[in-house]
């Protein structure tokens, strides 16, 4: 699973801390998400997509059977 969180965040000129505050998660979680170390739950993925005003599939790209 890959995501476009970093790209979308930078395009909106937001810092990781600001995005974390908006999503109500810790900054470390945003870092892990951006690095692809952690896969967001359905709830958080929905929240992120809603924040960027995009459909989930435009933020999170599922790559076949890979889940890392």
């Amino acid at each position: 699973m890959i995501n476009r969180i970093q790209e979308l965040r930078k395009s909106r000129k937001l810092t990781q801390a600001e995005l974390a505050a908006e999503l109500e998660v810790t900054r470390q979680t945003v870092i892990s998400l951006e690095k692809g170390k952690y896969n967001a739950s359905l709830f958080l993925a929905h929240r992120i997509a809603e924040f960027f005003d995009l459909p989930i599939e435009d933020v999170f790209i599922f790559e076949g059977g890979k889940n890392d």
Partner: protein, 155 residues
């Protein structure tokens, strides 16, 4: 009730909902502390041996101290909105919840391994009857399965 007391706060809850949950937990904890301290103090007064009396008094003092600390911390939390919000984020962050869960699982396994080694050591170098302590490990496993079954039904 069990859900309110033991389940992790769900992501997306408001600060007021989180506050209510913490308040419920603290109230429950206060009752448990009062009961534990009363029972241990009563048991201590009934003991004839000074060693067990001291042990029970020390135990109840520890519980009382820890309890007072928890109550003071929660009071600070209730009166500071910024601190409450920070605490809620830490408690509801799903990644942190997963990390805590993994850490607890590893600690539980390590605890069982250390207990097993200690019981082996006690059996061979101290007293053969220590072998009965192996039953405690079996009981812990049974307890674990029981708790999982109950939580699976409730949550």
């Amino acid at each position: 009730m069990i859900n309110k007391l033991f389940a992790s706060p769900k992501p997306g809850i408001t600060d007021d909902e989180y506050r209510a949950k913490i308040k419920y937990q603290v109230n429950f904890l206060t009752i448990v502390i009062i009961l534990t301290v009363t029972i241990t103090m009563l048991l201590a007064s009934l003991q004839k041996s000074p060693a067990s009396r001291s042990f029970l008094r020390g135990f109840s003092s520890g519980i009382l101290g820890g309890g007072i600390g928890t109550i003071i911390t929660s009071r600070i939390l209730f009166h500071n909105r910024k601190y409450l919000h920070k605490s809620k984020i830490k408690a509801t962050d799903e990644r942190l919840q997963e990390i805590t869960h993994r850490a607890n699982t590893i600690t539980f396994i390590m605890l069982l391994i250390v207990s097993y080694i200690a019981i082996c050591w006690a059996t061979f170098y101290w007293d053969r009857r220590a072998a009965y302590l192996y039953l405690l490990i079996v009981l812990i496993y049974l307890f674990n399965s029981g708790v999982r079954y109950i939580l699976n039904k409730i949550l």
